[in-house]
């Protein structure tokens, strides 16, 4: 597999061994997002504790490896952070994905999620990568209002 591949080891790893998968209780908000262009879907729950600490992110869904791996990666990054911190990561991830392969990702903010940089060149895949992250953002908004 070549260097520019979007299938970084890390992505395949997350796809084959998804972290935090499965819907759990308790939760503050649950959302269901669908990507109508490709049929991918995800159900996502968020539990926010004191001080805006993310106590759990649980999810279930179906779709391509990119969308599944993105959900798993999100779980890892969000768990234990505060809502505010994770929103900064979501924003940077969104900026990277919508940058048509021209945006330099901020590794400090994104951490392992930089592995998705290769996806940004394929507009048709960008939505796959964003599905879980958008659902998370939506759930977070609902859980705190």
């Amino acid at each position: 597999m070549i260097a520019e591949s979007m299938y970084q080891e890390l992505i395949l790893e997350h796809y084959k061994h998804p972290q935090g998968r499965g819907l759990r209780e308790p939760y503050d908000a649950e959302v269901h997002h669908v990507n109508p262009t490709c049929g991918d879907e995800i159900t996502m729950r968020v539990r926010v504790g004191d001080g805006g600490k993310i106590e759990d992110v649980s999810y279930d869904g179906q779709g391509c490896s990119i969308s599944q791996a993105a959900a798993s990666m999100l779980y890892e990054l969000a768990s234990g952070s505060t809502a505010g911190e994770t929103l900064a990561v979501v924003d940077e991830f969104t900026r990277l994905m919508q940058g048509r392969g021209k945006v330099e990702p901020d590794e400090d903010v994104l951490g392992d999620a930089v592995a998705f940089a290769g996806v940004a060149k394929f507009p048709a895949r960008v939505k796959c990568a964003l599905l879980a992250w958008m659902a998370y953002k939506d759930a977070l908004v609902r859980s705190t209002t």
Binding site: M1, I2, A3, E4, S5, M6, Y7, L12, Y15, K16, T37, C38, G39, D40, G63, C64, S65, I66, F122, A124, R125, C128
Partner: protein
């Protein structure tokens, strides 16, 4: 990649005409292009014709009275002659240049229920029916949905059988005296199925309706004879027939083109303009508002010349060999399911399939990443068809005159690898 098929087509020589085919992709991958159903590659003959026109002859057409204007007009109108001859149109004046097949299909849809026209065949309102099929490309669905929305007419659909054929069992009910137009693909861009035009046409004529064929996937691949085909309109697109982007074609029976209201208004489509009204040029110019895709039409003429010089019979026979080879080879891959006919009867060189448990997005991308095999994945702008088969997406390989059986071997190797990666 030294396959010469036994049907009089020297693929090795043909491949030399397409500079992109000898390109290497990043990571030393060769390019294996199996996505011509999406868009075909361009031979030097087309690229050079366009370059030369822009470098030495370009002027606006129709309106200019100087040497460049005359040369461009001559080349542009000669392209119309070439396309008319290529598809066997009864008259060159029945060839309307559009920007793509989608514009051609919309042009016909906008002729219906349009207060600027008065021919009863194009009247449309509540109670009137438009018949499509479940295998249509979005470009042959959405224009009719928008028309139905504007006029209150009803959309009706030919079902598709499990084998991927047009289900004709209910045709007598489906096409009836309320039907104003039937618009179906000549060849499906997903299934490869070639639809039985004569059967449908007979019923269309009984019902007094009109027939529009979306030939975007057939004109590039088989000899065309529109006069013999007998439809009322045929739409196709330049970029799928080794021609440039930015050019498409609507063929229509002259008498119907004359009866239709204009679509886009502007320069070149008029006879005379007053402040309170205008009169229109006769077809085809009536439907070519503004500066047309001049160099693109000329490039499309060169594409028709190129295909004619290769021979459309030979192209069709070559694709038939490739399709047979591919159906055989793919059939041996475990848990691969072909969506569409698995025999060669009335089908073209487009093979769509699923691999159990692996999303087509991943199939396509790994094929590209690891082997430089370019296929298309997704719903191929035919989402209703995928809904009908209960799947979100397929992987599609589509063949053209420059493809070889060893490229199909590479596809098969790639698919085995995909199965390994996601095992």
């Amino acid at each position: 990649m030294t396959t010469v098929t036994g049907v009089g087509l020297d693929v090795e020589r043909i491949r030399k005409d397409f500079p992109i085919l000898s390109r290497e992709l990043p990571g030393d991958r060769p390019l294996i292009y199996l996505d011509s159903g999406n868009s075909a590659q361009k031979p030097l003959q087309v690229i050079e014709t366009m370059r030369e026109h822009m470098a030495a002859h370009y002027g606006n057409v129709g309106r200019a009275m100087h040497v460049l204007g005359a040369e461009s007009t001559e080349a542009y109108e000669a392209a119309r002659d070439k396309i008319a001859a290529f598809v066997g149109a009864p008259s060159r004046d029945e060839i309307v240049f559009t920007k793509n097949a989608s514009e051609a299909l919309n042009l016909v849809a906008y002729a219906f229920g349009n207060p600027a026209g008065d021919d009863p065949r194009f009247r449309m309102g509540p109670g009137d029916e438009i018949v499509l099929s479940e295998m249509e490309h979005h470009s042959n669905i959405v224009p009719w949905q928008l028309l139905a929305r504007r006029t209150g007419a009803t959309l009706r659909w030919f079902p598709v059988t499990d084998e991927g054929r047009l289900d004709l069992s209910g045709i007598d009910d489906l096409i009836n005296e309320r039907t104003k137009i039937v618009s179906i693909a000549h060849q499906s861009n997903v299934l490869g199925t070639v639809n039985p035009v004569a059967t449908v046409l007979a019923r269309v004529r009984q019902a007094g309706a009109l027939l529009l064929l979306d030939a975007s996937q057939s004109v590039p691949h088989r000899p065309a004879d529109f006069a013999a085909l007998g439809a009322d309109f045929v739409a196709f697109t330049g970029h799928k027939m080794v021609g440039p982007s930015g050019i498409g074609v609507l063929w229509g029976r002259g008498e119907l083109l004359a009866a239709m209201p204009p679509f886009l208004g502007g320069g070149e489509m008029i006879e005379a303009v007053w402040m309170d009204h205008s009169t229109y040029a006769p077809a085809p110019h009536k439907f070519e508002a503004g500066t047309p895709p001049i160099v693109e039409a000329i490039g499309l003429g060169a594409a028709a010349d190129y295909l004619t010089s290769v021979g459309m019979e030979a192209v069709a026979a070559h694709e038939r060999e490739l399709t047979a080879y591919a159906l055989r080879a793919l059939g041996e891959i475990p848990s691969l399911r072909v969506i569409g006919p698995t025999d060669l009867e009335a089908r073209g060189g487009t093979v769509s399939f699923t691999l159990a448990g692996i999303h087509p997005h991943d199939v396509g991308q790994i094929l590209d990443d690891a082997f430089g095999v370019a296929v298309r994945v997704g719903h191929h702008c035919a989402r209703p068809l995928h809904l009908r088969f209960g799947i979100p997406a397929t992987t599609r390989a589509s063949f053209y005159l420059y493809n070889t059986t060893s490229e199909i071997d590479a596809l098969v190797r790639g698919l085995h690898h995909v199965q390994k990666v996601f095992a």
